[in-house]
Structure formats: structure tokens, C-alpha cells
């Protein structure tokens, strides 16, 4: 098979993994050196596909032959898809070629399980080693980790890769047992903790060789089973806490060709995925707790974002006086982000904040208006009922023409 045919099959097989981040790597440069590649912590999106997703890395599978039969996966054993396998040298050639063209900032390599977990993991490591040692490649490398692989192999992978990820796949153990019977949540979590331990070991040792400096991440598939958002967010929260994950990716289940009956045929729940990312961002960067966003079972609202939902649930906190309030609370006003908060705090050191300042700071005023006070403004909407306010602020879907066949 020609390289170009393999590329088409193995890129098509890799598209269901959501992550394509190239950020968080340490500073590396090839200035005046042999080899190529640099990283500076900032990710670069070199292109965007018409699904709105960023293309930052060459994201491919080493092979889509697989021994497992995970129901949600297009590459499962029983799936009728064309199969191919790259040699490690071919992956290296593609990575270097695309990198030279400035089409990518690195490689994200994953694989179906062939022969054994250890064998598969060794193949992935071989690619990373060739890139780093023979080609002196200093760009970004993300390796998917096979959970059942020997911890010594995972540790070896962590010395070459900027990021390792083990996919948790589904938010509950029960779903994993039903849809991916060959996978085992215990080995997934054991692999995560091997990576976490590796990171902790080098943490206070500046001379130790680097170990996954861009951290570890995982992916959860949303909408392939019946799990609600509350379970998903609480599960993400404990992953962040227990294994120091950098990111949890949520991948709306995309229908696959010749789909088995155990998974849905419907279009991917993109809005739900979007709300989960928003909620996840509130967990990571704003200091919200999963319990604050969804205390009981249930899903995030689709017509309002989770920050607005929290503000509507907690009317007693608002309206906040922007000239006095704690920065952490200002950041909880819907429509006002961390950046605007910082700028407001800078500005109020110089003078009192007025309503007009907010129009210039380009925050989402329509959303923020009912929730703050300035020296010349008090919101009328502070008095109206939550139900009415919610109705004023919710996203209205574009009118859609009814389908001819209902």
C-alpha cells in the first residue's frame, strides 16, 4: 500500500480523538543546532477543518488493526473498515515533512492494540525515540498510552513525550463494562497514576530528565451511553484532583459507519459537548466546584451557559459592586471573564469604575448587566424574578425549517 493511502485510512481512523493541543511544553529551540523544532509553551493551530476544529498536530494511528471490540469505536475488531499499518519510519517521515512545511507543531500518535499491549506501546515509543534521537526533533509529541502496558514502558514514553494520555473512554465503570468489555477501569486508573507518580518524582529535581512536561490528559465520550452531565463533571473533578490531569476532553459521540445497535445513530450532541467544556473551564480556571454547577443528578442547561446558570441560582450574591467586590467574585459575573476582571481591578486602582468602562472592555454586557453595580449604575433587572430574567437572557435558537418528513 502507498504511503498516501495509509495516511488517508489512518487519519480517518484517528479523527474521533478530540485533543489536538500543543500547549504547555517547555521552551526548546533549534537555533544554531542540527535537527528541527521548537516549543515555547504556547500552542499553535496551523489550520482549521470545516468542523471548526484546530489542526495543531499530525494526529494519526500507527495502525487501526485492533484486538478490542469497543462498541463506540470505528476501529473495533468487528468493524468493516479498511485497515492499514504505518512503519515507525513512515510516521517519522510524515511528521518531519509536515513540520518543515509549518503545517503542524508536532505529533499525536495513537494506535489500535495489536499482538499485545506491551508490543503496541513499544511501537509508539519507537516512533518518539526515532524523532527525538535520530532527527533531533524538538517539536511537540503526544503519545496515547496503552493502559495495560508495563509501567516501565509508560515511564519510558514519558521521557520522550511532552504529553501522555490514557483515555477513560466512558464516565462510569458500568458503561465501560457494557460498551468496552475488554477494557478495565482499574488498569486505566493505574496507568494514570503511573504517569502522575512519574511527574511527581521529577517535580523538585531540576536536573532530572523531563517527564511529560505538558502533563497528562484524558478523553470521555459523551452521548454514547445514558450518563448525565452531573456524573460526568464529578468524574472529571475527581480525575483532576486524583491524577493532576491537565485536561479532560469531552468528545460528543460521532455516529460511525455500520454502527452496532448498542450505540446511538443520532447526530453528535455538539451543544451538550460545548456546555461541558464551559463547565470544565469553570472547574479548572475559575475555582467552581462540580457541586456548585450541578448539585444533584441531571444535565447542564442547553439554553444558558453554566456560569449564567450559577448566577441565576445564586441571586443573593448579586448585584456586585465592581468598585468594591473581591476579584474572585467579579469573575463570577456572567459575561465578565478573568481578563476583564483583571483589567477592572487595574482600572479601579486609578479611579472609580463607571458603566461606560464596561462597554469599552468588550465584555458581554447584555449578560452582565443585571449582575453588577458601578458608581453611576444600578441594574433595574436586579428586582425582577429569576424566571423572567432567565427568559430574557437565554440563547434563542435560530428558527429552523421543519424537515419535510418530520
Amino acid at each position: 500500500m502507498q504511503l498516501i493511502d495509509k495516511l488517508s485510512i489512518l487519519a480517518d481512523a484517528a479523527k474521533y480523538d478530540a485533543s489536538c493541543a500543543s500547549s504547555g511544553a517547555p521552551k526548546r529551540s533549534s537555533e544554531g543546532k542540527g535537527g528541527l523544532g521548537s516549543t515555547n509553551g504556547m500552542g499553535i493551530c496551523h489550520s482549521y477543518t470545516p468542523d471548526g476544529r484546530c489542526v495543531s498536530l499530525l494526529k494519526i494511528l500507527l495502525t487501526n488493526f485492533c484486538l478490542f471490540d469497543c462498541q463506540y469505536c470505528v476501529n473495533r475488531r468487528s468493524s468493516d473498515v479498511p485497515r492499514a499499518r504505518f512503519t515507525p519510519e513512515e510516521v517519522v517521515r510524515l511528521t518531519v515533512d509536515f513540520y518543515r512545511r509549518n503545517c503542524i507543531s508536532g505529533l499525536f500518535l495513537s494506535s489500535g492494540i495489536i499482538r499485545s499491549a506491551d508490543y503496541t506501546m513499544e511501537q509508539l515509543i519507537r516512533v518518539a525515540r526515532l524523532l527525538r534521537e535520530e532527527h533531533q526533533f524538538r517539536g511537540y509529541i503526544h503519545l496515547k498510552t496503552i493502559p495495560e502496558a508495563d509501567p516501565a514502558l509508560i515511564e519510558e514514553a514519558g521521557r520522550y513525550a511532552d504529553r501522555l494520555s490514557v483515555n477513560i473512554e466512558l464516565p462510569t465503570d458500568a458503561s465501560l463494562q457494557t460498551l468496552a468489555p475488554e477494557k478495565d477501569v482499574k488498569s486505566i486508573k493505574k496507568a494514570m497514576s503511573t504517569i502522575y507518580t512519574g511527574q511527581q518524582t521529577v517535580l523538585n529535581e531540576p536536573r532530572a530528565p523531563r517527564f511529560t512536561p505538558a502533563g497528562q490528559s484524558t478523553q470521555m465520550i459523551v452521548g454514547a451511553d445514558q450518563t448525565d452531565d452531573s456524573t460526568i463533571l464529578h468524574s472529571a473533578e475527581s480525575l483532576y484532583g486524583n491524577y493532576g490531569l491537565k485536561r479532560v476532553y469531552y468528545s460528543a459521540f460521532s455516529p460511525i459507519p455500520n454502527s452496532p445497535k448498542s450505540v446511538p445513530l443520532a447526530a453528535p450532541p455538539l451543544m451538550r459537548e460545548h456546555r461541558l467544556y464551559q463547565a470544565d473551564f469553570l472547574l479548572r480556571s475559575y475555582g467552581y466546584k462540580a457541586d456548585e454547577l450541578l448539585s444533584g443528578p441531571g444535565d447542564l442547561a442547553l439554553d444558558i451557559d453554566p456560569k449564567l446558570a450559577w448566577a441565576l441560582e445564586n441571586r443573593s450574591v448579586f448585584p456586585l459592586d465592581l468598585n468594591r467586590a473581591e476579584p474572585a467574585l467579579i469573575a463570577r459575573i456572567p459575561g465578565i471573564g478573568l481578563r476583564t476582571t483583571k483589567r477592572l481591578v487595574e482600572l479601579r486602582r486609578q479611579r472609580r469604575i463607571r458603566y461606560e468602562d464596561l462597554t469599552r472592555l468588550r465584555c458581554v454586557l447584555a449578560k452582565a448587566k443585571p449582575f453588577f453595580i458601578t458608581s453611576d449604575y444600578h441594574p433595574q433587572q436586579a428586582e425582577i424574578s429569576t424566571l423572567l430574567l432567565r427568559d430574557q437572557l437565554r440563547d434563542r435558537p435560530q428558527p429552523q425549517q421543519l424537515g419535510l418528513w418530520g
Binding site: L7, Y16, G34, G52, N102, R343, Q350
Partner: protein, 275 residues
């Protein structure tokens, strides 16, 4: 009205601004690059620096230098107005919450975004190895930035490309890295422009194949794509020409699942228990 020309050079503008400040000349009495101003007067000032000594915070110089790369109306006079206000004790002019400061920060943001666009959307094409004559660039690229970011932002590629020799040509300026130093030409030599625009790329197919197969038609969302990848860049991206076809293909049936059409047409292979 004093009419000045700084040839769109920050260093020149800085000299002029220092002179203006030293004579306490109000921003409303100065204009840059304005041709035959109606209100031009014959006021005369001595050429040497005047008596007023301004204290300028270092942070302000950095902001001004960054905003100076912005191409647009009032490019230089806005900078002088900010400088004037800060020097006269009004530091809010530097902050995004201020009327003037918000415009300053908007420009800085545009400049930063455009630098990032250079790092992201520039595409190098490999040149055939020359058998005789002095060695030329190994990689060339054509790029059309909306602001004057090339000179500073192109340094990024020094770290990325190692010892390779590369050239970036734009309609305005150009840079060449000869393996040891970066040479910036304010007027891009015609020869560079031709080299970059006429580069032949026999190996280009691989990237196009990757691009069209990593796209998931079931998640079609052209609006988000255009927000991140403005259409003005499409014509210089090899994958740009594929975009309309991929969108319409997804709309006409391919949206049911994530697979690319040509993959679905190939012979599939189920796997037995023993591989």
C-alpha cells in the same frame, strides 16, 4: 499644525515624539503622514530638544512599540496622544478601560493576533537543491499579513527551522535567514517575491490528504472555522481550495457519520479473534 513623516518607522517616530514633548506641543497640533493639510501653519520650532523633560515608563514604550505595528488610520498620532497623557500624569491612558487606552489595546491585540497568524498559517515550500552558484534558501513562503509584523514575528522561525535557510516574502517587506542571521528588507526584492510565489511543490498531496481525512463531516461547523481561519488566508493555504468542497460534501449526505467518502468506498476488513 505640524506635519511629520516617520516613514512608518518606530525609531523615527520616537525621535520625533521626544522632540515634540520637549517643546510641550499638544497632540492636536501634530499630524503624521498627512499630505497638504488644510490647517497647516508656518509655526517654527527650533530643531534642538526643548526644555520640558518627560518621564516615560518602560512599560509604556513596550506598549507603543507593539501598537506601532498596526496599519490603519491615525497610526502614529494615537500613539503620541497616549504618550502625551501619560507624561502629564494620566496613566489611565495606558489602560484598556480608558477611551484612548482601549483603542491602544485593541491595536495591540490585532498585532498579536496577526503575528500568531504568521506563525500558524505560513506555509514553507521546499526548494530544489541548486547545483551551482551560492546556496539560496532551502524553504520559501509567501504570506500576506495585515499589519507590519514580519520583522519581529518571523524570529519565531529561527528556533523552529534550526540551521535551514529560509525566506518569507510579502507584498511589502521580506525576510531571509541564511542559517546564522535574519535579514529584513523593508521593500521585498522582486526576486524574493517571485521565488516565493512561483515555488513548485510536487510533494504537496500528502498534506491535502491528511487535511481532508482528519475532518469529521458529522460535526460540520463552517462558522466556527471561519472565525478562527479568516477567509483572507484561504488563497495562500494549500488546503484552502479544498474547503468549499468538503463543506458541500458534508451537507449533501456525508454528515450522517464521521467517515470520509473515499474511505467508505474501500474494501473493509473485519478482524478475527487472532491477529
Amino acid at each position: 499644525m505640524i506635519c511629520l513623516d516617520c516613514d512608518d518607522l518606530f525609531a523615527t517616530w520616537r525621535q520625533q515624539a521626544r522632540w515634540l514633548l520637549s517643546h510641550q506641543i499638544d497632540p492636536s497640533h501634530v499630524g503624521w503622514n498627512t499630505v497638504a493639510d488644510l490647517f497647516a501653519t508656518d509655526e517654527h520650532y527650533p530643531e534642538e530638544i526643548g526644555p520640558f523633560q518627560a518621564r516615560i515608563p518602560v512599560a509604556l514604550i513596550e506598549l507603543l512599540q507593539s501598537a506601532a505595528q498596526y496599519r490603519g488610520e491615525q497610526r502614529w498620532s494615537l500613539l503620541y496622544e497616549v504618550l502625551w497623557r501619560v507624561c502629564h500624569g494620566d496613566r489611565t491612558a495606558m489602560l484598556a478601560g480608558d477611551r484612548l487606552g482601549s483603542e491602544l489595546h485593541r491595536r495591540i491585540k490585532q498585532v498579536r493576533r496577526e503575528s500568531h497568524h504568521l506563525h500558524a498559517f505560513l506555509r514553507f515550500v521546499e526548494m530544489p537543491v541548486a547545483t551551482e552558484g551560492p546556496p539560496g534558501p532551502e524553504y520559501v513562503a509567501w504570506h500576506e499579513p495585515a499589519h507590519d509584523i514580519l520583522a519581529l514575528a518571523s524570529e519565531h522561525f529561527i528556533g523552529r527551522m534550526g540551521r535551514s535557510r529560509w525566506l518569507i516574502a510579502t507584498p511589502q517587506d521580506g525576510v531571509y535567514y541564511d542559517g546564522t542571521q535574519l535579514i529584513h528588507e523593508r521593500r521585498c526584492p522582486l526576486e524574493w517575491q517571485q521565488l516565493a510565489q512561483q515555488a513548485h511543490d510536487p510533494q504537496g498531496e500528502l498534506w491535502l490528504t491528511y487535511y481532508s481525512h482528519i475532518f469529521n463531516p458529522a460535526r460540520l461547523n463552517p462558522k466556527v472555522m471561519q472565525g478562527h481561519l479568516p477567509t483572507r488566508f484561504w488563497k495562500n493555504l494549500p488546503e484552502g481550495a479544498l474547503i468549499p468542497g468538503l463543506i458541500s460534501d458534508a451537507r449533501t449526505g456525508k454528515q450522517r457519520d464521521g467517515q470520509a467518502r473515499d474511505i467508505g468506498k474501500r474494501q473493509g476488513k473485519r478482524i478475527g479473534r487472532s491477529v
